[in-house]
């Protein structure tokens, strides 16, 4: 069965909307911010790719946004952008499912909440902060704003979150449970993650993390959202192409069967010790690329790779890769310049924690 991509909504360090992502792919431009984390030992500076949600005001009135934190705003904006791109924002959408993936969840809100309960002398908890900390809060706001009463699923499985979300989307469409699925993912920057980056990569921390092993510039923390409107393939042309297959497994225990005649978009963002193992599993001389230099390191980064793959299908071009410390291997044929996609499919591959892997293949 073929699943067509009818619309895409993305926001992150590269900008807001599929147009901004396309521009970033062509120009390589993105802008990181410097976040300052105050500690009793002094200030720490951490680079991060942040997402701007100003455009949300054009979709949702201010009153409806007053209790919504940045994490949820990113998810809502991603959804509205995807529906707008699919020309389904105001249309009768039929029975639509919603699936939202997150690796971390609403971390800023959750950590504030936890600190208020655990560290304060009297346990205090804001009811709004508590209800927004529940992992399906973003999916809830989206269903309410869109008035969608269909199946609604939230998943959180660290770096396999987005693949498992696509697996369920694929199954819902295959079973004809729904006519379309709004599926995507969101993750945010928080000072905890900033400090985690500092511990992993700061050159002063000789005993910690990935220092000396991975390139810290490659692993800048990212945040953002990526959403897709998927539907069963029909006669309508699908400019972004279609989702061909979704696979998950464990490469350490049983290897990986990868699709043939594919270019591989690797989810090597510097946060997994498995990053260095891509070269062992990719077919020799297969074209590979990594785009985390545009969106940063975050568990749901594969969602951006899927969006980039869809743009490649639309334009017939595979965009030049960013640089990565994993590209030292001679086995990898890195896409250094924009190339014609030809008849290739694109496989977005993520090697994750504990040897887990997930891949999603797209074709024209």
């Amino acid at each position: 069965m073929k699943i067509s991509i009818k619309g895409i909504g993305v926001l992150g360090g590269f900008g807001c909307g599929i147009g901004d992502l396309n521009k970033a792919l062509i120009t390589g431009k993105r802008s990181s911010s410097t976040m300052v984390i105050k500690t009793t030992g002094g200030d720490i500076e951490v680079p991060a790719f942040l997402a701007n949600t100003d455009r949300l005001k054009s979709f949702v009135n201010k009153r409806d946004l007053r209790r919504i934190d940045h994490y949820i705003r990113m998810a809502i904006l991603g959804c509205f952008l995807a529906l707008e791109d699919a020309d389904m924002l105001h249309a009768n959408r039929g029975k639509m499912g919603i699936i939202i993936a997150t690796g971390y969840g609403s971390t800023c809100n959750t950590f504030d909440l936890q600190n208020s309960v655990i560290t304060e002398a009297a346990p205090f908890c804001s009811p709004i902060q508590f209800s927004n900390s529940v992992h399906n809060a973003a999916a809830t706001y989206i269903s309410i704003l869109l008035k969608e009463v269909g199946p609604n699923l939230s998943v959180s499985h660290y770096d396999m979150s987005i693949t498992s979300a696509f697996l369920s989307a694929y199954q819902w469409l295959q079973e004809e449970r729904v006519e379309s699925v709004l599926v995507g993912s969101v993750d945010e920057y928080s000072k905890i993650l900033g400090y985690f980056w500092h511990c992993l990569y700061n050159k002063g921390n000789k005993k910690e993390g990935f220092v000396g092993k991975m390139n810290p510039e490659h692993a800048i923390i990212g945040e953002g959202a990526n959403f897709f409107v998927l539907a069963r393939e029909n006669e309508t042309a699908s400019p972004y192409g279609f989702i061909e297959d979704v696979k998950m497994g464990n490469f350490k225990r049983r290897g990986i069967n990868l699709p043939e005649n594919a270019a591989f978009f690797l989810g090597a963002d510097g946060y997994s010790e498995c990053d260095e193992q891509y070269a062992e599993y990719i077919p020799e001389k297969a074209l590979v690329a990594s785009y985390s230099h545009l969106y940063g390191g975050l568990p749901v980064g594969t969602g951006f790779d899927i969006a980039i793959a869809a743009l490649s299908n639309k334009s017939g071009t595979i965009f030049k890769s960013g640089d990565s410390s994993i590209f030292n291997s001679n086995r990898l044929n890195v896409i250094r310049h924009n190339e014609n996609l030809g008849s290739r499919r694109i496989c977005c591959l993520k090697l994750g924690a504990g040897g887990s892997y997930g891949w999603i293949s797209l074709n024209q």
Binding site: G41, V117, V149, S154, Y158, S164, S168
Partner: protein, 400 residues
């Protein structure tokens, strides 16, 4: 939705305050007793009662996974029971295409760790809890412990997570991507949810009273229930046959409010309709309903109205008076109880219910342990975010 093929349940494991294994839990339901008390597993100045697992339940010698969350320990304990109940061993799991899909809430939160600015001083002690948070949800723990090679998914649909995990896993079997799926729900009690529910003013300071006129909120609980789902091929290989079947599953959303149930029950009705259609059953096929029945004002009112409208005369009850609301585990634990009640041909009294609420329609939960006829039942779960999830279950050939 068209009818779908039943999916066999080869084994079940369960742990909660009512017992450390499924049989113990089920036997407890028929005793009509309960002992909620203020929590002892964490310190708090609040004193409303909960249903904790007080025993030192985790047999560490049986598992290689040790530095894991309590939620994972609950999940692993129930998984080992489920595998044994199915007649499988670890080797069976290593040679098949096995997936894991577990519902949870707390299992995906970094908790019991304070990350104040002062905490950001000691780098060595910082990375460990962050890594534990990132890599140890119950699905990952099960995958690592039992060397699983198939798809993994952690469902975080608030209180319907456990039943949604079961419904989604059944699809994995039907579509042929797995031979076996380890699925269910797990959640521990901890300070944040304890305090959070209090802030929403939906905690009862006394033992909860689902569907009763004087109900005043829920009591929290903790636990896990794990199911081993198998493909038709594996089912045929099983000498004793499957224990039960998932016949159908439905889910829908209220699109109404974060923490309140939609008054017209639209989401719940849609979920029930989908579950009935996929299982090709009618209300007259349903022997009983294991309701969500939290003991909160809104939930019980809406649920009783929907059940009265859609299943007139069908007996229903809530088991939350015996176990507390186990959040992400609730749907799975209650699905396990639904199956054991079918096996026994008896349903337990809906503890806490004594006085009918005149605002509710004249449909009341069972007041005493009762005999039932039939081999199909419905288990329903409602959740924060307006999620509604419904399972239709039946007994199998093998009954322990």
């Amino acid at each position: 939705m068209k009818p779908v093929a039943p999916v066999a349940i080869a084994g079940i494991g369960c742990i909660c305050s009512a017992g450390l294994v499924l049989k113990e839990c089920t036997d407890f339901l028929y005793k009509g007793k309960r002992n909620p008390a203020p929590p002892v597993n964490f310190s708090t100045k609040l004193t409303f009662p909960v249903f904790e697992v007080l025993e030192d339940f985790f047999q560490s010698s049986l598992f290689k996974e040790q530095n894991i969350l309590r939620t994972c320990k609950l999940a692993l304990t129930a998984t080992l029971e489920a595998i044994s109940d199915a007649g499988f061993d670890r080797k069976t799991l290593e040679t098949k295409r096995v997936g894991a899909c577990i519902g949870t809430n707390v299992g995906c939160s970094m908790h019991n760790e304070s990350f104040s600015n002062d905490g950001m001083e000691d780098k060595t002690s910082f990375i460990t809890p962050v890594n534990r948070f990132l890599f140890s949800n119950p699905t990952s723990s099960i995958a690592s412990e039992f060397k699983i090679t198939g798809p993994l998914q952690t469902v975080v649909n608030a209180c319907s997570s456990g039943s949604d995990a079961l419904g989604l896993s059944a699809s994995w079997i039907r579509s042929g991507i797995c031979d076996i799926v380890i699925t269910g729900g797990a959640d521990e009690m901890y300070q944040i949810t304890y305090t959070g529910f209090k802030s929403l003013l939906i905690n009862d300071d006394s033992p909860c009273k689902p569907f009763d006129l004087n109900r005043n909120g829920l009591n929290l609980g903790e636990g896990a229930a794990i199911f081993i789902l198998v493909s038709e091929e594996i089912e045929k290989e099983m000498k004793k046959g499957p224990r039960a079947y998932i016949l159908g599953y439905g889910s829908a959303t209220d699109a109404f409010h974060h923490t309140k149930t939609r008054p017209d029950g639209k989401g719940l009705k849609l979920a029930i309709e989908e579950a009935m259609e996929t299982s090709d059953t009618t209300p007259s096929d349903i022997a009983f309903i294991n309701a969500h029945g939290t003991g909160t004002l809104d939930n019980d009112l809406v649920e009783s109205r929907v059940l009265y409208e859609m299943f007139p005369g069908v007996p229903f009850f809530s088991t939350k008076g015996y176990t507390g609301h186990t959040l992400g585990a609730a749907g799975a634990i209650e699905a396990a109880f639904t199956i054991t009640c079918l096996e026994k041909g008896r349903v337990p009294a809906s503890v806490g219910f004594t006085t009918p609420d005149p605002e509710m329609p004249p449909a009341y939960p069972v007041k005493q342990n009762s005999t039932i006829n039939g081999n199909k039942a419905l288990s329903e779960t409602l959740a924060f975010g307006g999620n509604n999830s419904v399972l239709i279950l039946s007994t199998g050939e093998h009954q322990p």
